[in-house]
């Protein structure tokens, strides 16, 4: 390989590695959005659930460090992980209770949970640390990093799989892709997945068929909380090691967009989330040139809108084709039916 192609591969690998890290939280939250959406309970609260997990993860790990200073190094991250996940699942279950038991509109209740999360995290942060901006004053833990050994001989591959500094990607980056595969298997290859999708497709029919529809929707929202929570934890205990007010910065909504853009399928959802990650990497690259920062910040939302329009357009066209085809079939049917023939 020539020198140019080697360095080109290295640059590409650096960008892709950055993309993986930027997309990981969106992928995790989007998978959470996907399972809820397929079970018929669209989760608008992903953003708030990410915030809850990020905050309680940092607080949990920080207090574990304070209370058990001599404990093994894995105690504090684990405490943070558990605290964050419990908080996110509780948030998701609160949404479930308000929708399924109290009859609240799901989207509005989701917005309510987002408000609750934004207020509660800042309120508790001020109460615990006296700071309104971030928990920088608290020492908190980092979730583990996975370094793949034995790649030192291939710099481009090493950068791709271990990140820019070749220190290894945060474990949650791999978890994000693992979760996508796992969720895909769960939804399309297991009985539970079939039941979840059946409830989402037609809850009344599912209930008539003997499925515990409400319990399945609780389950889907709780799983959604776990996945969105992992995304939030990645932000506060991987990407950064502190909690900032509003640190999810719209990623939960991007995740929701990814679900719809991806056509409510696991692979499509992951690809859409990667696209959003790519637009934020593009923004950081553009910032290196002499372009006003405001223009750079407009790039990710613009890309999102354009992508959404293109995908919605294609889906609408597909639906129109389907409708036209069935209309054609229906028109052809009366003549064909007596002879028992099938027209297509």
């Amino acid at each position: 390989m020539s020198l140019e192609s080697t360095s080109f591969a290295l640059v590409a690998a650096t960008l892709v590695a950055a993309l993986l890290r930027a997309a990981a939280p969106i992928i995790l939250a989007a998978l959470g959005g996907l399972i809820a959406e397929l079970a018929g309970v669209v989760n608008v609260a992903l953003e708030g659930l990410m915030l809850l997990a990020a905050f309680f993860g940092v607080i949990g790990s920080a207090y574990a460090l304070q209370w058990f200073p001599g404990a093994a190094p894995w105690v504090a991250p684990l405490a943070g992980l558990l605290a964050g996940l419990v908080a996110a699942v509780l948030g998701a279950l609160l949404l479930a209770v308000f929708h399924l038991e109290f009859g609240a509109d799901l989207i509005v209740a989701g917005i309510g949970i987002n408000l609750l999360a934004a207020g509660l995290t800042v309120f508790l942060m001020v109460t615990l640390t006296g700071d309104k901006g971030s928990t920088a004053a608290l020492a908190s833990a980092v979730l583990p990093v996975l370094h793949l050994p034995g790649l030192a001989g291939w710099p481009a591959l090493d950068t791709l799989l271990n990140g820019d500094g070749r220190g290894g990607h945060p474990l949650l980056v791999w978890v994000a892709f693992g979760a996508a595969a796992l969720l895909s298997f769960l939804l399309y290859r297991t009985r539970l997945g079939l039941r979840l999708r059946a409830v989402g497709e037609n809850p009344v029919a599912a209930r008539a068929g003997g499925l515990p529809a409400k319990r399945l929707q609780y389950l889907a929202l709780a799983a959604s909380g776990v996945l969105a929570g992992l995304g939030g934890l990645y932000l506060a205990m991987g990407y950064l090691t502190l909690f900032q007010a509003e640190m999810s910065a719209g990623r939960g909504f991007l995740a929701l967009a990814a679900v719809f853009m991806g056509g409510r399928r696991p692979l499509g959802t992951v690809l859409a989330a990667l696209l959003f990650g790519a637009s934020s990497v593009l923004a950081t690259q553009l910032a290196l040139f002499d372009i006003p920062s405001q223009v750079v910040y407009m790039v990710p939302p613009l890309v999102t809108i354009v992508a959404l329009v293109v995908f919605s357009q294609r889906r609408a066209a597909a639906q129109r084709r389907l409708a036209a085809a069935s209309l054609h079939q229906w028109r052809a049917a009366p003549q064909a039916a007596p002879q028992g023939e099938t027209t297509s």
Partner: protein, 363 residues
């Protein structure tokens, strides 16, 4: 809005508010050393105080806080109406923030350009703000109506773009070099907009609230467009079958909402701030959303909901000054109000069904 079909009564709004306040009080007791003082400040802080002193006699104190409540009520009423239009057509458009920013920018620009002609400048500024909001809201509307792009996502993204556009314009094109911070030139205020209350920004623009509310109520209840909008919101399939132009109505619902948000921008630029700083705080649009939810999408209830919201907001600041509780506690109360207000019932269905079964045959 329509009543729930299962015959169970929705809890009235005051129950939701009382419950949320009680929850807030419980939370305050958990974290504060002086929960009584904190909550007293929250609930009575925005009220004026009558005070006696020997030199001046009776005097009304804390008018500034009353002023803040009234100013916020005006802005939030307009933003609440803005969100409501989309909601009535069942469009979860949350783009009031961006429409508000561009409306304020347009109004300020016109105000500065036509500074010498107050009689002409004021109406033109209103029109500019209305059109800016209408157009920006219309973008999301057309994207939804023409391409089926989810309005939740597009309006959110348009908010981000509008805020950055605002900052780019204020930083690079339209700023006052004579002041120490980055902001637009000040709008020269005509005598028409002199404060009605001393030491506040409460001006004749307060009249915008009854006017805009009446206009919104009239549009929704008395015009063809309003009828189509409600039909599209309540029964989209019926609307499509009976020949209501669904796409046009959807697009217009968001554009009209945008015009109201633009009007809120006009109020902020001409009534409150006079010059817009580059770091004008985003997020007001979401407060408008809470107001619309609190009013249960009924235009005539919007001013009251806005007043409640503004009251709590000012009370929260008073609470932060008077005690060790931060003002974000009010966000928690507001979130609880939203959750409780949209609930159809406040007990799990299972518990209610027992008594329900006695009265009617099971479904």
């Amino acid at each position: 809005m329509t009543t729930p079909s299962d015959g169970l009564q929705r809890p009235p709004a005051w129950v939701a508010i009382a419950l949320a306040l009680a929850l807030g009080f419980a939370l305050t007791c958990l974290v504060s050393r002086t929960p009584g003082i904190a909550f007293h400040a929250l609930l009575t802080g925005p009220m004026p105080q009558l005070r006696w002193s020997d030199e001046t006699g009776w005097q009304l104190m804390r008018l500034t806080r009353v002023g803040t409540v009234i100013e916020d009520t005006v802005t939030l009423s307009l933003l609440g109406l803005a969100v409501l239009f989309g909601f009535r057509a069942r469009q979860f458009s949350i783009g009031a923030d961006g429409q508000f920013f561009l409306g304020a920018l347009a109004a300020t620009w016109v105000g500065v350009q036509l500074g010498g002609f107050p009689l002409l400048g004021l109406p033109v500024a209103v029109v500019a703000a209305l059109s800016a909001g209408f157009l920006w809201g219309g973008i999301a509307g057309v994207l939804k109506a023409r391409f089926g792009a989810s309005e939740i996502v597009t309006t959110l993204m348009l908010n981000l773009i509008a805020v950055q556009l605002f900052r780019a314009v204020v930083t690079h094109a339209f700023h006052d070099s004579g002041i120490a911070y980055i902001a637009t030139p000040a709008v020269p205020t005509p005598a028409l907009l002199a404060p009605l209350l001393p030491r506040t920004h409460v001006t004749a623009l307060v009249l915008l609230v009854p006017l805009a509310t009446a206009l919104a109520a009239w549009l929704l209840a008395r015009t063809t467009l309003g009828y189509e909008l409600r039909v599209v919101g309540d029964a989209p399939a019926f609307a499509a079958q009976t020949g209501v132009p669904v796409a046009r109505t959807v697009a217009l619902s968001m554009a009209i909402g945008g015009a109201f948000a633009g009007l809120a921008g006009f109020h902020v630029s001409h009534g409150l701030l006079k010059r817009l700083p580059v770091d004008l705080n985003p997020g007001l649009g979401f407060e408008g959303l809470v107001v619309a939810l609190l009013a249960r999408n009924e235009p005539r209830a919007v001013p009251l909901a806005a007043l409640l919201y503004a009251y709590l907001k000012t009370g929260a600041q008073a609470m932060e000054l008077a005690s060790d509780v931060s003002r974000e506690m009010v966000l928690v109360i507001q979130a609880c109000i939203v959750l409780l207000v949209v609930s159809q019932r406040l007990l799990p269905q299972r518990w209610l069904q027992v008594s329900w079964l006695k009265r009617k045959a099971p479904r």
